[in-house]
Subunit: 449 residues, 2 copies
C-alpha cells in the first residue's frame, strides 16, 4: 500500500518526457483505482497523456473507476481506434454504467466503437429501469449443463473463463432456465468423474431483472454470496450481479439514506465534486419547507403572548423542551429507519414497535422529568408548580415524540415513500408544534394565566 | 427464494414426529441463514430438536448465523460429542466470533471440544484487539511458492482447497513473507507450464493485523476484492479477511455511525433483540446531557426577560431560528461525517471544507432571510425593522451553524474521537446557544430594549 507513486513523481517523469519509465512505473506500482483517483487531481492535458501510455487492460480498468466528467473529457480526446481498444477490454456491466451517464451524442460515438454482438447485449441492458437489478448485472457468466462431468466442466471453465467477470460460481442451465449452481471450489475439490447434476446445489437464491438493485445487493450481503444470478420473468438466467457491485450499491444507498435523514437531497457526486451552487440546491428545499413549517409554532405561541408578557420566564424553558422532544423523536425514527433499511423491522411490526417505544418513552420521561424538576428547584428557576408544569410537558412531549418518531417512517414505507424522509428535521418540526401546544395548555391551566 | 419452508410446516412435521421427512425438507429447502432466522421464533426445546436433525455442515453454518443468546442456549443443551462435531465444521474466524461473545465457562467447554492445532490458532486470534483486522481474519488460505508451475498450483489447490474458506485468491509466500498474489481465474486460464512467479501480481494490497477492521473492509470495498491478505509486523502473512465479512463490518459500522449521529449509544443487537431497559440505557445518556446543556440557552434567555416582557412576540421567532440553524448545521456535519466515513474527505481538507461551507452558507442565508422577511411582512408579524432583525439573526445563525457543523467532526477525528458524535443533537444544542445570543444582541440593539 505504501509503494504507490505519488503525484509529484508522475508529473516529474511526465514533464521530463520519460514516457517509457513512467509507463513501467505506473503499471508496476499503481492500482487502476488509485490511478483514477490521482488523475482527478491533474490537468486535462496531463490526464490524456498519461492515459495514452497505459496498456489496454489497465486503461479500461482505470476508465471504469473514473468519475463521469473525466470519462466524457477523455472520450472526446481519444481517437476512434483508442476508444475501441478501451471499450473492448471493459466488462459489459461497466460499459453500461459508463453509457448511462453520457450525453446522447457521446453514447452514439461509443456504441460505434463496440462490436455488434456486444452492442446488442448493451442495448438490452440499457433498457432495464435505472434502479433495477437488471441495470447493474453483467451478462458474462459460466453456464454448465447438468450432464457434464466435473472434468468437462473444468475444461469449459478454463476455455471460456478469461472473458467472464467471475468464474467462481457456475450456473447450470437447461434451455436457458436456471436449474442449479455450483461453486468452483466444489468443482475443483471433488472427483473428476462425478456429474455436475450430482454436485450442483438446487436450492437457488436469485433475484429478477426488475427487482430493486438494493434488494439484490441485500440478498448478496445476507447470504454472503460472491455473485447472485438474475432471472427474467420466464425464470431464464440473463446475468449476474457480483459482490463488488453489491457493496457499491449498498454504500450509495446508505449515503442516500443518511443524506435524506439530514434534510439533504441525495447526490451521487462526492462532497468536493459537488459545486457550491449544487450544494445550495440540494440543501435549500428542506430548509425552506421546514422554516415555513415553523410558522405554525410561531402562530401558536402568538396566541399566548399575554401569558408570556405576564411570565416571560416561561419562554426560557421552550428550547429545552423542544430540544429534548426532538432528540427523543429522532432516536426513535432513526432506529426504525435503519431497522427497515437492513431488514430487521418489517412493515407489519408497527404494533410491536409502538408497544416497545411507548414503554421506553414512559421510563425515559419519568427519569428526565424528575432530573429536570430537581434542577429547576436547585437553580431557583421556579417553585414546585413550575417544576410540575415543566415535568408534565416534558413527559407528554417525550411520549408524543417517540410515537410520532417510530410510526411516521413505517407510514412512509407503507405509502411507498422513502422512510428516511421521516427523520430528524421533519420529526423535530412536528414535535416543536406539539410541544408548544401541550406546554401552553398546561402552564395556562396550572398558573391560571 | 419462494420455495422456503415456512414455520408452520416445520412445526407440523416436528410435532408429528416425522423427523426423517423434516430433516430432508430442511436440507433441501432451507438456507442456513434463513433457518437460523426461523429458529429464533421457535421455543428453546423445538430449536434443540431441529438442530439435532441437521447434518453437521448444515448445523455448523446455521450455528454461525445465530444470535449469541441462541448459541449459548444450544451449547448448554448439546452433548460434548455433538458440540465437537459442530465446532469441527466451523471456519476458524467464525469460531472466534462465537467464542468472543460467550461467558468464560462456556468458552472453556467449547475449547475442550476443539482439537489441539485448531485451539492454538484460535488462542492466537483471540488475542487481537476487538476491532482489529486480526480479530476478523481467517487463517485458512492457500499459500503457493513462486517456483511452482501453474499445473502444480492447481494440484495443490485441488488437494487442500476443501478446508479453506476462500480459494479464489492464492498467496505466494517465501519464508512466510507475502511476495505476490494470483487469482484462481488467472491460474485456470493460463498455460499449465508457466511458473507462478510469472503470473503472480506483485503490486500487493494488504492490511496489518492491528489495523482497524473498518479500514480493512474499506480497502476490500475500494478495490473490489474477494479477500484481503493480513500481515503481521514482520510483513509475514497470517491470514485473510473475506468480502462477506467486510460487508458485515461495513454494515455494522454504518449502523453504529447512524446510531451515534442520532444520540444513541451503539448497540450490536437488533431493534427487537434489545430489551426495553437496554433501549432506555442506550438513549438516556445523551438525552440527559443535552437537556442539561439546554440550561445554558435558558440562562441566556433569562437575561433578557425584560425584553421579552416588553415585546413577547419576540419569543415566537426563536423556535424557527433555532430550527433553521439546527437543520443547517446538521446538513453540514452529516456531509462531513459521511465524507470521512467513506474516505472522500480527509483530515487535512479542513480549509477546503470550510471555504465551501462558508460560500454555501452565504447564499443560503441570503435566500432564507429574504423569503422569511417577505413572509413576516405579508403575515403582518412585524414591520421592516422586525424583518431586518430576524433576517440578520438568521444569516448569522446559518453561517455559524455551517462552520460549527463542518469543523467539529473534523476536530473530533483529529483528537481521536468518533466524528459521528458531532452530529445533529450536539450541533443543535450548540447552535441553539449561539442563536439566542446573537438574536438578543441584535434585537436589543435594533429596538433599544
Amino acid at each position: 500500500m505504501d509503494m504507490q507513486m505519488n503525484k509529484e513523481r508522475v508529473l516529474e517523469l511526465l514533464h521530463a518526457h520519460q514516457y517509457k519509465k513512467l509507463k513501467e512505473e505506473l503499471e508496476e506500482q499503481m492500482h487502476p483505482v488509485d490511478l483514477a483517483e490521482m488523475l482527478e487531481e491533474l490537468e486535462p492535458l496531463e490526464r490524456v497523456l498519461i492515459f495514452r501510455l497505459l496498456a489496454k487492460e489497465e486503461a479500461a480498468e482505470t476508465f471504469t473507476n473514473m468519475n463521469s466528467d473525466m470519462r466524457e473529457e477523455l472520450i472526446n480526446a481519444l481517437t476512434e481506434q483508442e476508444l475501441e481498444e478501451v471499450m473492448e477490454e471493459m466488462y459489459i456491466d461497466d460499459t453500461v454504467d459508463v453509457l448511462e451517464e453520457m450525453p446522447a451524442n457521446v453514447v452514439d460515438r461509443l456504441l460505434l466503437s463496440i462490436d455488434a454482438e456486444k452492442r446488442a447485449q448493451i442495448n438490452t441492458l440499457l433498457q432495464y429501469p435505472e434502479d433495477s437489478a437488471g441495470s447493474i448485472m453483467t451478462v458474462d457468466y459460466i453456464a454448465l449443463r447438468k450432464e457434464m462431468t466435473v472434468q468437462e466442466a473444468i475444461l469449459k471453465i478454463r476455455q471460456v473463463g478469461l472473458n467472464k467477470e467471475t468464474i467462481y460460481t457456475c450456473y447450470v442451465t437447461e434451455k436457458r432456465r436456471l436449474i442449479g449452481q455450483v461453486d468452483l471450489k466444489e468443482i475443483l475439490t471433488t472427483s473428476e468423474s462425478r456429474l455436475i447434476e450430482d454436485v450442483m446445489d438446487t436450492n437457488l437464491i436469485f433475484a429478477q431483472t426488475t427487482d430493486d438493485k438494493e434488494d439484490a445487493a441485500r440478498i448478496i450481503n445476507k447470504y454472503g454470496l460472491i455473485a447472485l444470478p438474475i432471472l427474467d420473468h420466464e425464470m431464464c438466467m440473463v446475468g449476474l450481479v457480483t459482490v463488488d457491485d453489491a457493496m457499491q450499491v449498498i454504500q450509495e444507498e446508505t449515503t442516500e439514506d443518511i443524506s435524506i435523514m439530514a434534510g439533504l437531497s441525495p447526490n451521487e457526486d462526492s462532497y468536493f465534486g459537488t459545486t457550491v451552487f449544487e450544494h445550495v440546491k440540494n440543501r435549500l428545499p428542506w430548509l425552506l419547507f421546514l422554516m415555513l413549517s415553523a410558522t405554525v409554532t410561531q402562530m401558536i405561541m402568538g396566541h399566548y403572548e399575554m401569558a408570556l408578557a405576564v411570565m416571560p420566564q416561561l419562554a426560557g424553558f421552550i428550547p429545552m423542551l423542544m430540544g429534548t422532544g426532538g432528540n427523543c423523536g429522532s432516536q426513535s425514527s432513526t432506529l426504525v429507519i435503519r431497522g427497515l433499511a437492513v431488514g430487521e423491522i418489517q412493515l407489519n411490526d408497527v404494533l410491536k414497535v409502538m408497544f416497545k417505544e411507548v414503554r421506553v418513552a414512559l421510563i425515559i420521561s419519568l427519569i428526565l422529568s424528575v432530573v429536570n424538576g430537581v434542577r429547576i428547584l436547585l437553580m431557583g428557576q421556579g417553585g414546585a408548580l413550575t417544576a410540575l408544569a415543566i415535568g408534565l410537558t416534558m413527559a407528554c412531549t417525550i411520549v408524543i415524540a417517540k410515537i410520532v418518531g417510530c410510526t411516521l417512517p413505517l407510514f412512509a414505507k407503507r405509502v411507498g415513500l422513502d422512510p428516511a424522509i421521516m427523520a430528524t428535521p421533519l420529526i423535530s418540526t412536528l414535535v416543536d408544534i406539539s410541544t408548544v401546544t401541550v406546554y401552553f395548555a398546561i402552564v395556562t391551566a396550572i398558573f391560571h394565566i
